[in-house]
Amino acid sequence: MDTAALTFLALGLPFAAAAFAPVLTRLLGQYAAWLLALAPLAIFARFAAFVPEIANGEIVTGGYAWVPSFNVSFSWLIDGLSLTFVLLISGIGALIVLYSGGYLKGHPQQGRFFSFILMFMGSMQGLVVSDSFLMLFVFWELTSITSFLLIGFDHGREAARRAALQALVVTGGGGLLLLAGLLILWNVSGVTQFSLLLSFGSELKESPFYLAALLLVLGGAFTKSAQFPFHFWLPNAMEAPTPVSAYLHSATMVKAGVYLLMRLNPVLGGTPEWQVLLPLFGVTTLVAGAVLAVRQTELKLMLAYTTMSSLGLLVMLTGLGVPYAIEAAALYLVAHALFKGALFMVAGIIDHETGLRDITRLGGLRSAMPLTFAVALAAALSMGGLPPSFGFLAKEEIYAALAGSDRRSMVFVALTVLGNALMFAVAFAIALKPFLGPKAATLKPVHEAPLLLWLGPAILALKGISIALMSGLAHRLVTSPMASAIAGEPRTVAISLAPHFGVPLLLSGLTVLAGIAFYINLARLRAAVAAILADIGWGPNRGFDQFMRGLVGLAVAVTRRLQSGRFEVYMTATFVLVAVAMLAVPLRYGEFPRAPFFSSDVPLHELAIMAIAVAGLLAVVLATDRLTAIVSLGIQGFAVAVIFLLYGAPDLAFTQFMIETLSVVVLALVMTRLRLSPSDHRPLAQKLPDFAIALACGLGFGLFLLKVTGVPFDTTLTDFFNLYSKSIAHGANVVNVIIVDFRGTDTLGEIAVVMIAGLAILALVRLRAGSLKRGVPMEVAADEAHVEERV
């Protein structure tokens, strides 16, 4: 099997596993996790095989044509950036699957949960390896949809439903912006693949559509990556079970936006707009997230807000455009995925074992859960940026980048130090507060978590330390290729546990000192932030509710206006529009037909037939009893039939005769049962406007016909039928040949319509007969009762 097919299989594997997950879970219970985790492991192994190649600076592309006529392909691009992402997604994914096995042990819907999370994994993995725009968009929206399913997993609770819908609206709406942005990129460059787009960088930046494309792409990235002011869906997404929070809402999905920015950095980056917008939104998000995290006391919410901060930091670094910034972003992204995933899982363990996740009510767990404590501590070291963790390397590189930027970015430096210090405080609040201090009362007896639960976070935390110790290898294999891919040129990451001396180290020290100060005064700080937020009293979260209510209200108002429920109004609107369409165009362009010439050489019998038709019509309008109306309708119909006969259409004439006869019969059969008068009982004042509209329509069609018959006739089609009807289709009656041969497929559709109409009529008649005689089916009976109630 060639490598392309193998890669394709790896991309499809999670979806296959998702299909089998419910069955496996029914058979094996939580132990299905061990089997299902093999899928992400296999993917990890598959993509790990690319590492040496990518580390040598190569790029792997492959794929299949999808919609060749639109130049759309199902193709992948594996470089340092996507490879790192895939390895994180599949590696952490395997651990999350195991963790879910323990976390949702015995849950009746565990199989469905596995299924959702594997589907998400497949979507996310497809997203980061996509080379084609359309494929990226499809997987982008798939991650939004699977995230919707996962957040709303506990759909019995309203909060979960709201959070799921909120996430879907925000990220799905952003996805549409992204699609528009990608279409602009496609239009300007003419290519649909990221690997080809690279060479169009300067062309795109000079295009007048650059800003529009940039804003649309940023709209997609910022909503997905929870940048301020679109951040509110992320904390609400914590309604999802903890494995979801750990996986989607810290390690993977929320990074999709950052991934996109990094992917497009070589193409769109480097411009003043890019270097202003990204750091600005990034640093705002960083500080806002950190401040809001301090306000929280619930473990998962604290983590959620710090995730928001970290995403802000990543966005800022991606856009900063100074030396070391890209390297720092690459380092921090890897570090964050490891420590945040671990910390979320620790929070889940605490919640699972104690039934609590409020930090003020937890304490003294260290003796009961020593292993969890150790894991939490290791992860917090990385999050706080202390040696010997990978987070320390990332933080040193961040400060190296900031120290190297110009003076104007002093504000960025100060705000980053503030944000990092707050995150430091929150990290240790989570890692220390539940474990130290006196033992607090818990909802159930506390003991160490089972293997399935602690295995994942332990591996992640260990990894966070070990790759810092072996930083040379990690840089060569992972971070350097990744940074090169983001920068669009070869970069080498060199940072080790030996820090950058000078200003960066100073900033780092400052962060730690401030962080410790914040940690000590956490309670006071929390109260202060809470007071400020209470004073503001409004946030995008409430804004979202107002927006949704407004949207529904608007829809109701518009619907009520457009759909009044009155037949008359619909009909009037329709025909006024018809009259306007028929009359406005000739009026506007002066395209009136020449004055009609009523030739006097028309045979008398033809005029008589027309007069009979008109008389029939008038009699229908003026009829006061049923029989007159029916007979008059017949008269105008027969008159039309005679006209057909006179003008060389015997087929039409016969058909019309038969149909008019049947119409009269059917109408008589029904009308005798409706004790109704066909006359109009309305006052004249109501009839006159109707008549005016009708007259305008009639006039419009008359003028139209005059105009049409006034221009020369194009006989191409008619000649075709006259020429070939006998020579090809062996029929002398051209009309019949057209019906059954030249346009046979059309006729097939038409007889199907006749048949369906017949069935519908039969059903209507039967329904009535049945309801009287044999008793009615349940829903029909209910329906009828309902109708009577309304009446």
């Binding site: 309203e158 209200g553 038709a613 019509l617 309008v621 060389g648 049962r673 109707d690 016909l705 018959t709």
Partner: protein
């Protein structure tokens, strides 16, 4: 000739639309039946009028030559007549059923699908 037909077609349309605009379902039905004829005549005249010669190829010829009626609009109208009858019958039975259930022929009082003062959809989640 076309002028007379244009006049006739506009009378057909006027009457059909006038009947369709009334509130009473029987008159609406009569309007539907007449509208079918109006449209058929419109198409028929649009395809130009030729007196008395049907588009049938003579026994000894392979090609239709000489003046004959235009076959294409006839083919279109022929199926249209049958289909409009099917729909007419369907509407007729529907009207009859509606009258049986609702005991009215006034469309203003037929509000089962779109009731008056329908409550707004729920605003919660």
């Amino acid at each position: 000739m076309e002028a007379w037909f244009s006049l006739l077609v506009s009378i057909f349309f006027t009457v059909a639309v006038y009947l369709l605009l009334s509130k009473f379902i029987i008159r609406v039905l009569l309007g539907v039946a007449i509208l079918g004829n109006a449209v058929n005549l419109l198409i028929f005249t649009g395809g130009r009028l030729t007196r008395a010669v049907p588009p049938v190829i003579a026994e000894d010829a392979d090609v239709l030559t000489g003046p004959a009626a235009n076959a294409l609009p006839q083919a279109l109208i022929l199926t249209a007549i049958v289909i409009s009858f099917s729909f007419f019958a369907f509407l007729l039975v529907l009207a009859w059923r509606a009258y049986d259930e609702l005991a009215t022929d006034n469309t203003d009082e037929m509000r089962v699908a779109e009731p008056v003062n329908e409550p707004a959809p729920p605003l919660g989640y």
